[in-house]
């Protein structure tokens, strides 16, 4: 008494190859299959990003506008305290636009890293009960961080159009902006993957990350311009260390592309830019991309015990 439906299913399954569940596989092949697995779950990834964004501002009457208020408040503080009180605005034309570019880029970077770090822990319920490629969780924070950054960039574009004192420069350097943003995202994803897995085993990670990010915020030219760093260090090895920071290079790239006044010698001292900024940016992006592979492999190695550690 076997119905054709049962036969059909049995035959279909008999034709499928066996897949080893959660087995340790070789370096490159493992990465490939992980990538395919994530790709298979792309709709879930989109769903989780939507969940994140929707639930964050559900039941608040201003909704998405809130995601703007924090960077705007930060902008106001830095503009007044550092720009006006400490006088940085005098040496930095269009200081508000300059700061907002840095804040937006840094905000994206920091949100991905900090969000990823706690992402697996926050989804403990799912990790313990359902099989999913666990990379989904850190990746879903990228989506919501990018959404926030996008909203800020709309405001930034408006600010550039209406407030910029220098005419907007179209040219090859404009490409530095997407390149810089891409670098920030890729590097943050690589770091976030490792941190999210580490945080499962060692909860101290998330607190450590929080502090390190505060320090790193001041190690990139966000509220002060690179010109001050250059004037202080005169291109010595310390300055090279400063420039080796992927976030620094990425932020400088975005500034070069969008901060028109900084490339003209108007309204103050001429701005300094690191030599070969485009090349540095390209190399940083490539290195970040290459880092994704070991980061994913570390994650894959650590994720086997997630369900029992949570």
């Amino acid at each position: 008494m076997t119905s054709p439906e049962i036969m059909e299913r049995a035959n279909r399954i008999a034709a499928l190859p066996f897949v080893v569940v959660g087995g340790r596989s070789s370096f490159a092949r493992g990465a490939r299959s992980s990538l395919l697995d994530i790709w298979d779950h792309r709709e879930l990834l989109a769903g989780l990003v939507r969940r994140e964004i929707k639930s964050r501002y559900k039941d608040s009457s201003l909704g998405i506008v809130w995601s703007l208020f924090r960077p705007l408040a930060q902008l106001l503080i830095y503009y007044l305290a550092i720009g006006k009180v400490l006088g940085a605005a005098r040496g930095t034309p269009d200081f508000a636009i300059f700061v907002f570019i840095g804040l937006t880029t840094w905000g994206l970077y920091a949100e991905i890293i900090q969000g990823s770090t706690t992402s697996v822990l926050n989804n403990a319920g799912l990790v313990k009960k359902v099989y999913l490629p666990r990379e989904i969780f850190p990746l879903s924070t990228v989506g919501s961080a990018m959404f926030n950054a996008l909203v800020q960039m709309v405001v930034l574009a408006l600010a550039i159009v209406f407030l910029s004192s220098a005419p907007f420069r179209f040219g090859w350097t404009l490409l530095y902006a997407p390149l810089g943003i891409a670098t920030v995202i890729v590097f943050a994803v690589a770091v976030g993957l490792v941190l999210s897995a580490l945080n499962v085993y060692l909860r101290d990670t998330q607190h450590l990350v929080e502090i390190v990010m505060i320090v790193l915020f001041w190690a990139s030219p966000i509220v002060y311009s690179y010109t001050y760093v250059h004037a202080l260090l005169h291109g010595n090895w310390l300055e090279q260390v400063y420039l080796a920071n992927p976030a620094t290079i990425a932020i400088l790239g975005v500034q070069k592309a969008l901060w028109a006044a900084g490339s003209l010698n108007i309204g103050g001292i001429a701005q300094a830019w690191p030599p070969d900024l485009g090349l540095r940016l390209a190399i940083t992006l490539l290195v970040s991309l290459a880092l994704l592979l070991p980061a994913q492999r570390i994650f894959a190695r650590l994720q086997g015990n997630f369900a029992q550690e949570l």
Partner: protein, 397 residues
């Protein structure tokens, strides 16, 4: 028919390391000691299992026997320490209802998200969305945030989503039969439909009755090892015997601590089936030792089928029977005339206690009887049906 294998578990062992210190400071402080102080616990030991397409397999065992761990290993949620799990076809793991439900999202949004978590695409979900909502019976609240749902609505929606994904292999952990009775019946119907569609179900359950009615194969786990793998009836018997051993063990431990001898104890129980001209009489003989008589006592007996379903139960209290109540050994004979059960083996449970429900002694499955008489039809009851027909002329003829 030759059934292909859908999942194969080879020599799988799983070790859990129990360590209590979680923070960096604790680990540094206890670094030298941590190797010595950590406890190993083997949740699974060299488990081998082949699961065939279209079968419904019940994983049973005591608490802590490793059945949930095995299910998680097959589902890929936990990685085995040694050994390998191979699998093919589409899998849905139903280890917790509503895993991933977000309280701030509406029912509709959660349906899509939860279906995606269970591996279904948006388009597939959209196709069965109306069915899901209808099955859950909460049409009016589908656009309400889930946090305002009653717990019943919550599990019904979660179950409806889970049951509408299209898996080849469904892993279920203790989540069948939620909600009220009509909904439970709907759930069971859906499971039966799954079976008739040739889907494979791997089920962890504590309910012998549920396992008995659903599964065609039972795997009994005991402290991480497979103790039995085969026919459902035998598996349930072994599980029951295991429970019974444990109970006796505890009772003895209790007795040795308190030094108390039970006032009434069952020495032996036998059952004899007498078949004559199509009617079955069962004669039950129970031997009871009375040590310290109380002012009354009650003898109870019940009949189970081998799948663990309770068919009948009666006590001497129900019938107002006077039982002997003097110190010493007593034989009590209970005759059950004309027991109309279908062909098969039946288990007899005997117990003694007081009228308020406190047990002095129990002997589950103390005796069994068989009936081999051929019956018409099949099922739990023996019925000899008579068919009659009346025909009227068709109005069109």
């Amino acid at each position: 028919m030759n059934h292909p294998t859908i999942a194969r578990v080879s020599d799988v062992s799983k070790r859990f390391v129990l360590h209590k210190d979680k923070s960096l400071k604790e680990r540094l402080v206890n670094f030298a000691a941590s190797r010595r102080h950590r406890d190993d616990f083997w949740a699974l030991k060299d488990v081998n299992l082949d699961i065939e397409v279209g079968s419904t397999v019940g994983l049973v065992g005591h608490n802590g026997s490793g059945k949930s761990t095995l299910l998680k290993v097959i589902g890929g949620i936990i990685e085995p320490t040694t050994g390998m799990v191979e699998r093919r076809g589409r899998l849905a793991a139903l280890l917790e209802l509503g895993a991933g439900f977000h309280p701030d999202l509406t029912g509709r949004e959660n349906v899509y998200l939860n279906a995606a978590i269970l591996g279904q695409s948006r388009a597939e979900t959209a196709r069965v969305f109306d069915e899901i909502v209808e099955f859950s019976g909460i049409e009016a609240f589908i656009d309400t945030q889930v946090k305002f749902y009653s717990s019943g609505m919550y599990v019904r929606l979660a179950f409806a989503v889970a049951i509408h994904v299209d898996p080849d292999l469904l892993l279920v952990d203790e989540v069948l039969a939620v909600g009220d009775e009509p909904f439970q019946r709907k759930c069971m119907d859906k499971i039966a439909q799954f079976q008739s569609e040739g889907r494979t179900i791997l089920l962890v359950s504590h309910s012998a009755e549920q396992v008995g009615s659903l599964c065609d194969r039972v795997v009994v786990l005991h402290s991480g090892e497979i103790r039995y793998d085969g026919a459902t009836e035998r598996g349930i018997q072994i599980l029951r015997a295991g429970y019974e051993d444990e109970r006796r063990h505890q009772e003895q431990a209790h007795q040795s601590v308190t030094g108390e001898v039970p006032p009434y104890s069952i020495v032996e129980a036998t059952a004899e089936a007498q078949e004559s001209s199509g009617s079955l009489d069962v004669i039950v003989r129970v031997t009871v030792d009375i040590e310290r008589p109380r002012d009354h006592w009650v003898l109870g007996l019940s009949i189970d089928n081998t799948l663990g379903m309770r068919l009948y139960g009666v006590t001497s209290l129900d019938l107002d029977v006077e039982l002997p109540n003097a110190v010493g050994r007593h034989d009590i004979v209970v005759t059950l005339p004309d027991v109309r059960v279908g062909t098969g083996t039946y288990l007899l449970n005997v117990g003694v206690g007081d009228r308020f429900g406190q047990n002095y002694d129990r002997a589950p499955g103390a005796a069994s009887f068989q009936t081999t008489a051929p019956t018409a039809g099949h099922g739990l009851l023996r019925i000899n049906p008579r068919f009659a027909s009346q025909s009227a002329k068709s109005p069109h003829a």
